[in-house]
């Protein structure tokens, strides 16, 4: 589902104008990005948890040459779906 479609659906669902929905979408995206970048955990009701986690450094093996490299540790966003969502998808 592309953004345009999503906004159309959402505006019909909530009864808001498309402009307002677009603004809300942007606000949601920036708000989530900012909170996650600050290192916070977002608990999204019914959907799951978005978390800013550290992925520790690890050695990886180049599949072709067999060389070993160390990938440095980095911060990643992880999504842990809620149990209800997982069950409903099964």
């Amino acid at each position: 589902m592309i953004a345009k479609e999503l906004i159309a659906r959402l505006s019909s669902r909530t009864g808001m104008t498309k402009e307002k929905t677009t603004r809300l979408m942007e606000a949601t995206a920036t708000g989530l990005t900012q909170t996650l970048t600050a290192g916070n955990v977002v608990q999204w009701m019914n959907l799951g948890t978005l978390e800013n986690k550290e992925r520790p450094a690890r050695t990886i093996v180049h599949p072709k040459t067999g060389e070993k490299h160390v990938t440095p540790a980095k911060q990643v966003i992880t999504f842990r779906p809620s149990v209800s969502l997982k069950e409903s998808l099964k």
Partner: protein, 360 residues
């Protein structure tokens, strides 16, 4: 990461409302609708993309075999969908950039901490009414330092702190101290190395002297048993080239007299020796010995005299062979190689004698 905490649904609603400039209620309805849409799309196997944030979608997981850990019986995990989220590249880089910032902060932290601590100590001391200056703080003994007793007890620790905290501006005196220590330590190490070197050098020298002495005594023994062949030359492989001069000159002189009598006749013939056939051409390396080459090519070390004799134009002196010189190994007759006949033995002895007589 300082203010890390969980953003609840209510807080998320507030953030969104604030960002969009709408009421909390509107934001709540919108978020609820968004959540419902996402879940519905996932159930339909579709993906939902939130621009500038990421994509939620349902990912298919193939069925796989597994083992029930407690019973050991094989079970098959059925295929299913699992919800996944893929953040957009911009978000990913923003998050990893946050890590870089964090690391940079972490690097600065300890120094800042130390300087802060130093500031605190200064403040405390100032509060105590004595009003000492920053320079005196570190040098003053125990009673005043409440927070950090280590700082005052150990001058080295104090200096470390002072060095890392530029706020506590220290004059030259304490800064000079570690340098003094450093120079003193370096000089001590230098003299130690010198001493060790001297010890080793003298040990080596002593060995040399002892060798020379031993050679002398052996030489005198040789005088008594005149007919003995050149044992000393065979020892050559254990002794470097230069010392051989000292050792070998004496024994040969001792044996010289009888040899001369025996080989008096063919002297001219021996001097006009010509080498026409060569079995090898070699380059002298560091540590090469003529005796050793002789042993390699002829099987006898004492036949090195032939090699030297054949290369007189290239080797100036038998004990001063130069690395990098190319020499040729002459071919010897069977008689010369075996050294059974007295003629052959005399030949070698005579050659050795005249080579050894050569001025260095």
């Amino acid at each position: 990461m300082k203010q890390e905490h969980k953003i609840s649904w209510v807080e998320l609603r507030q953030i969104v409302a604030q960002n969009a400039g709408v009421s909390n209620k509107d934001a709540a309805t919108f978020l609820q609708a968004l959540t419902d849409e996402i879940i519905a799309a996932m159930k339909a196997g579709d993906s939902v993309r939130i621009n500038h944030f990421g994509t939620f979608r349902a990912q298919q997981v193939a069925s796989r075999r597994s083992v029930n850990v407690s019973t050991g019986e094989q079970i098959e995990l059925p295929a299913h969908f699992k919800p996944v989220f893929a953040p957009e590249v911009a978000v990913r880089t923003a998050v990893s950039g946050q890590r870089k910032r964090k690391l940079a902060e972490g690097n600065v932290d300890p120094i800042q901490k130390l300087s802060e601590q130093a500031d605190e100590i200064v403040d405390i001391l100032a509060d105590m009414g004595q009003g000492p200056k920053a320079e005196e703080v570190v040098e003053q003994p125990a009673p005043q330092a409440v927070e950090e007793p280590q700082v005052v007890e150990e001058p080295q620790a104090a200096e470390a702190i002072v060095q890392s905290s530029p706020q506590v501006a220290e004059p030259a005196q304490p800064k000079r101290k570690p340098r003094l220590w450093l120079t003193a330590g370096l000089t001590v190490v230098f003299f130690l190395i010198l001493l060790i070197g001297l010890v080793f050098f003298f040990q080596y020298k002593m060995e040399e002297w002892f060798d020379a002495l031993r050679a002398k005594t052996e030489g005198t023994e040789l005088v008594i048993t005149e007919d003995e062949p050149f044992d000393i030359i065979e020892e050559e492989d254990t002794i470097p080239v230069e010392p051989t001069v000292i050792e070998e000159v004496k024994p040969t002189k001792a044996v010289k007299a009888p040899v001369k009598k025996a080989v008096a006749k063919p002297r001219n013939a021996l001097l006009q020796r010509e080498y026409t056939e060569f079995i090898a051409t070699i380059r002298l390396n560091e540590g090469s010995r003529l005796a050793w080459e002789a042993y390699k090519y002829y099987g006898r070390k004492d036949l090195w005299v032939y090699i030297y004799d054949a290369n007189r134009d290239r080797l100036k002196h038998h004990s001063k062979i130069k690395t990098g010189t190319t020499i040729r190994i002459p071919k010897l007759t069977q008689e010369q190689l075996e050294q059974i006949t007295p003629e052959a033995q005399h030949e070698v002895e005579y050659l050795t004698t005249i080579i050894m007589e050569q001025e260095p």
